[in-house]
Symmetry: D2
Subunit: 474 residues, 4 copies
């Protein structure tokens, strides 16, 4: 890669030069090629081109109001920026040597508006510009993520409503635990995602704070109306301190964390679905169009989408650490290390927008194997707790009842018998209270109906959950 000249050739108009360097006066020579390569952020930050132009248009208005620009100049610049927008929307140039999106846009503006382009950067710095662009981008992308989370919640809710009366075995430690309603299991993810949504809403509120007008670090040297800027760009508040505004990226860390947390929840839902849809469990059938095949094994219908959800959760977890480590021990103010923020942010948002839609559709099109779920939900192991609870109702301390049922199950194991076929005297031999009424015969139906307290899996408790879930989605 050849050395890139530091300043445009004097006779070549900026707009026709291959790049624009926004600095250079003090420098005697050119920038080293290997530094150019490392420093070049255009491949990443080009995604901000719309926001960069939008923020510049607002800045033109602020400069006009601050009497830095005449009305004619402002119009010229605004028309120029719109023309740049039109060109970039048509085709984004490749093979340009601009070091970032800001340089590219400003250079193209020279081509559209001429020398007045040189007035645009008055009183601002790339330090406040880039963080304004990135926050704008995040506000919009974050809103899309919010909608997608909500859509997944809606799919869970719809399936829950449809499956309120199907019972299934709930698992702990991937061992059959107790019967629950399928709706209850589905809603457990609904609530987790609801917290993710709360976290995202709160994070986005902290994102929607305007940094523009903070200059490089000390504030703008011109009397710009930051409230006007805020209004024009749709921010909710104006940053309180210029040094903080250009020098912190906690909002990036927070967004990446919220995405990683959501990713962790999606990875658990994916794990459940992968396991439940295995041949061995056979509890659910995934929609075929959300599975893929193998290049070698003709029989395969692999849950690739769910596995990728799990994989993305892993990377996101690492990315939170990366974002925090990026800030660790930095001196105050802007440091170039922060250039890594955008790759981390984009990757987190992209992961969400890629993973959420197929997950939602997979949930929406799940088919439950009701027979198999109910059969296991009614198995004796899954109802063991209900046996102990029955002993409690007959006056036995729970700790003693628990031990008695444990020994009963062991006796059945050893006799290679089901509980049902174990003679009554064995029951009574293990604990006399089994004889103080009929030998208990719990069912999944009785079990879930015994759990009516708020948050339990009884029918009314789940109906209440459904009602609250509907409200949460309003």
């Amino acid at each position: 890669m050849p050395q890139i000249e530091n300043e445009v050739a004097p006779n070549l108009p900026i707009a026709q030069s291959p790049h624009l360097k926004l600095w250079g006066g003090r420098f005697a020579g050119s920038t080293a090629a290997t530094l150019e390569e490392l420093n070049n952020s255009l491949p990443v930050d080009k995604r901000l081109w719309r926001e960069d132009i939008e923020a510049s248009r607002a800045w033109v208005q602020a400069l006009l109001r601050a009497d830095v620009l005449t009305r004619a100049e402002a119009q010229q610049l605004d028309r120029g920026l719109l023309a740049v927008h039109a060109k970039l929307a048509t085709s984004f140039p490749s093979d340009v040597a601009d070091e970032d999106i800001h340089s590219l846009v400003e250079r193209m503006l020279y081509g559209e508006a001429g020398e007045v382009a040189g007035k645009l950067h008055t009183g601002r710095s790339r330090n406040d510009q880039v963080v304004t662009d990135t926050r704008l981008w995040a506000m919009r992308a974050g809103a899309r993520v919010l909608e997608e989370v909500k859509a997944l919640q809606a799919a869970l809710l719809t399936q829950a409503e449809a499956n309120i009366d199907t019972l299934m075995p709930a698992y702990t430690h991937l061992r059959r635990a107790q019967p629950v309603r399928v709706a209850h299991w589905l809603l457990s993810y609904f609530w987790a995602l609801d917290r993710d949504r709360q976290r995202l809403v709160a994070a986005l509120e902290r994102v929607a704070v305007l940094p523009l007008g903070s200059g490089a670090i000390a504030g703008s040297g011109f009397n710009v109306d930051r409230t006007l800027l805020k209004e024009l760009l749709g921010f909710r508040a104006v940053s309180a301190n210029s040094l903080d505004a250009v020098g912190d990226r906690d909002w990036v860390c927070e967004l990446v964390f919220v995405a990683a947390m959501t990713g962790a929840h999606l990875s658990r839902l994916a794990e459940d679905l992968i396991i439940f849809s295995s041949d061995e469990f056979g509890y659910v059938r995934l929609p075929e169009s959300y599975t893929t095949g193998s290049s070698l094994m003709p029989q395969k219908r692999n849950p690739d989408g769910l596995e990728l959800a799990r994989g993305k959760a892993a990377r996101l977890a690492g990315d939170v650490a990366g974002a925090l480590a990026m800030l660790k021990g930095l001196p105050s103010g802007y440091n170039k290390d922060m250039q890594e923020d955008k790759a981390l942010l984009f990757s987190a948002i992209d992961a969400m927008l890629l993973v959420l839609p197929p997950t939602r559709e997979t949930v929406a099109q799940l088919v439950f194997n009701v027979e198999s779920l109910q059969e296991v939900a009614n198995s004796e192991d899954v109802l063991a707790t209900d046996l102990a609870d029955e002993l409690v109702r007959r006056g036995v301390p729970f700790r003693e009842a628990h031990g008695a049922v444990g020994r009963l199950l062991r006796a059945a194991d050893e006799a290679k018998s089901s509980l049902k076929d174990l003679p009554a005297d064995v029951w009574v031999g293990i604990h006399p209270a089994f004889g103080t009424g009929p030998i208990p015969r719990p069912t999944a139906q009785l079990s879930v109906e015994a759990r009516q307290a708020v948050g339990g899996t009884g029918r009314n408790a789940v109906l209440q959950q459904l009602a609250e879930a509907q409200i949460a989605l309003l």
Copy 2:
């Protein structure tokens, strides 16, 4: 380590046995020693003993109201729990073989209350018990962290008020950038910590949701009044779904993240203070009692506390990834992997409570080297932007002004001269606009006063910040 018997010897009362296993009926043999060692969580969860007893006392009330206990039994249990509390407060037993704090407390309760102790665990599980204890602990510990963050903010604010009229050079890229008020620099940390506090408040609200009554996974088999439990224990809400309540730890991840984020901010403040207090910068003097010496080098006064703040930030960043990775890909419901949650949570909170107080005191006792700060703030490099701004005021497009000042500085470099000593014709030769008025002579004072927009470093802008900061601390 010898094999531990699975069940207490039949003739030995539970209370006198070396441990209590809360399960075992179904098991023919004893637990393997190496599994006992791995599984044993007492060294970590013993910190929850107060919360465990408190939650059990509330549970007794719920069982009484659900008619599982008679009033006499409830009183017996409550007195027993108080007696256990008194014993543990006096001296925590070492050399016990209980596998966790719940087993220890329940075993001791047998000693105090006799066989009625066996009724305590009715309708609950360690799954809802442990997460109730841990949330209770986190609510209180989190409140202490909040207070400590606030106290550090107050120290920053006090110093800011005292140093509103001292100017200093702000840095970007650890290179002198522009003059700011010392108060402005201090407040940049105030606002970052304020966001940390907001995040912590929101996280703690999500912590204060009662899981007790969720049983192992399906809800409690007895009609417990969860609202009563919530009131007795000081929670703000009741969990909506038992499966979610026992099977998620997003609130742990969130707390660890909020601590890590705060840690990142503290690490940057630490970095600033370490650099600014070096002999070479000489901008601030750290209180001697917050520095330490070397075992070898007699001259040393090392900023150990600040360095440890930086180191803790690193570990916390890793811990967020660890917490998220713990949840990644877990099937729904409780899985034992989650036992790692407490070590991560305790370590995050401990780090905060260890680092915040000395940081606060260090800030409170900082002495600024006003002379040196002001001298550098007035150096020609730091005022270069003001030269360009002046050219703008004389009608030069900023981009051109920036280049001209760059060339001017280069000319001074090459002449090994200060700007001040550069003849006027050199200025005018570089840009004629330097000659359209007196040769500009910017000062730090003029520079900061030009930055009056909200968030800037002008005096009024900073006074406004101070006022807002006072309100934020109310």
Copy 3:
């Protein structure tokens, strides 16, 4: 917590004072209590007491040879150090205020050896001392981990030898893929652990480099014989650069990484075993003594040990990031941030030593459900690839064969028929090559025997693996 006096009371012998501060001459006042609390590393580094004494004994010999000590003084110090060792081995003091293990040992040495204790620290610094202690500790602890990894490999190998002729379905995407020998599946973990062992051996070689004699940063001011020190302490090499020796912790990062990598492998083995031992898969039975019960549900036999292995893998992954982030951006030389190294190192090694033994025993005592494994291994889906391979042998391009078998399976799905019951004309209709010989009837046995290339699951290929594995364990 009261302020701790900076220097011992003049009239109180050091040995009887509550603590020894190894510095303080230059300090006018005492250290702040909150800094003492943060700075105090004794709760963590007390585990290094043996190594601290051992390294000091070697140092005494080096000082003797460098003529800093007389023979009598050296003997006095050595006897004193042995006496301190004896005391600490008997009972480690609690309630001491020493800031670290080095201060504690040196203070106790005053008690045993009198004023000559003041000569011990000549020409060394805590900077080289602590890293010497920690490396010594790591050399030994690492050797124990090596043995444990090897023991797990041996258990896998023994089970593989016993199960070479049992076939099972291998999985990809948790979907049945192709038949393999159980030995093949077991050996896949053997080889992964073998690489972990290679990595650990290489890491430990980098650990066994002696830093002692590097002083605080510039080397020792006295002519100590570092080769002698190396020999006395069992290191393999002497560090080449004092600044690097005291200021780097890459070896800690590497050890934590190697542990995390091993942890990841163990977590996958754990996942396989948890899934395979579920009721639904029913492929293996875990030894009962390596499962635990539930406090609520009497039927449970939970794979807690395996789940904890998975959980530890998550924390270790985070700890690698934490260790690397600790070093990120530190200036050269020792910085106090590095004090976090020991907690990270200890936790990584502890995790290994806790997780490996029960995993090994669980593997050793696994019971395979041969019938069920073989049945699934012979299912038609699992043999679909062999159908396609047969078509290839009949001259059909693989891509075409793959499609044909896919369509065949779909036809069977739609006919709700097994392949076996699908009429021959359906086969031939789907692809004529099915008719150019008998309708193929693959079996698991034929399938595995077709895979004889190195690394395949044919009997001879697996026998070769077993032979190589035996050699690897020598």
Copy 4:
């Protein structure tokens, strides 16, 4: 994005269809668009196109030798693959819908070679194919990283040789500690990078193990000669177990870790250089062409390249956690989660190849401010340890000597005097041994020469280091 048809239209030759799906026979319908989007790995794995073709060419030879292909077919395929190579080398197609690089190459092969293309995938799977491609890529990219690390070491060595007689203050805790040779400081990084190189060499040896021939999981169904494949592709060994070969990614984790560790070292070198080149320290001058300017502040020469090195170190630390978390808890065999491996690997290698060259050039062109370094190296604080060492030589126990020098410095502080100007009776008053010879007047030169033990900063010790460093680079 419209639904993509699952199978190519029957009348359209594969080569002209917009994409090739390597599976689909069993599937009744098409793949959902949102899953296609998530699943599509071409934007990432297209970087493997050369390796994919190369591995396929070797595979053709193996199929020929296994009699799966005739010689004519093999030639046809080989020519076809070369033609695909030529096309891709000329211009890589955009707007293709192939789901990965393997599908793209195979589809293009149909265009070049016709139906025989359908024979290429015989006996292999994308599972062994992709990991073969990626390992091949990593072997080459890793070799380039090795060269770059070595080149940086060479630059450090050259500067060390040139600066052996310049003294500088070494720092601990960013506080002046003791004098060292500039060469000594530079070499401290040399040795750290040497360990990084050792780690990379070892990692690359583990990378160079051929997985091809492992099929999807059970080995190849045809008798392929894996040794031939190994030789053709330049691997060093053949994988021992097919399940391990396709299902593990520890080698990716290891490479990312080695890059992260190197990154951590580079971040520390960067930190030193950023601090040492600040106006306040003024110890080194960075080459201007390796600094950049500000869009706002004309005076700036920012060390962007060094800051980006620091930032990359942070992301890499997170990426190690991400890679390990990806593997955590995966069942054995290939799981789609692993698709994330390539993004992690590419990003780690790219970071190295971007950061190392400008760092090397920055080091090579560093200019030291000898005067300033030597002046500080000779300051009284920096020589305080030498005062204590002198007392030791006069018979004072070190602990006592350390205290005495500390008090002496305090006395000078309080008298606002230099040590040099402190009257002799003050010295003797603080410790009589100061009077048993001339008042000591240490110099940096004397200090470094007192540190002659291996690894010390004495001239001979450093010459020895230089000699060893030269050998290390051979």
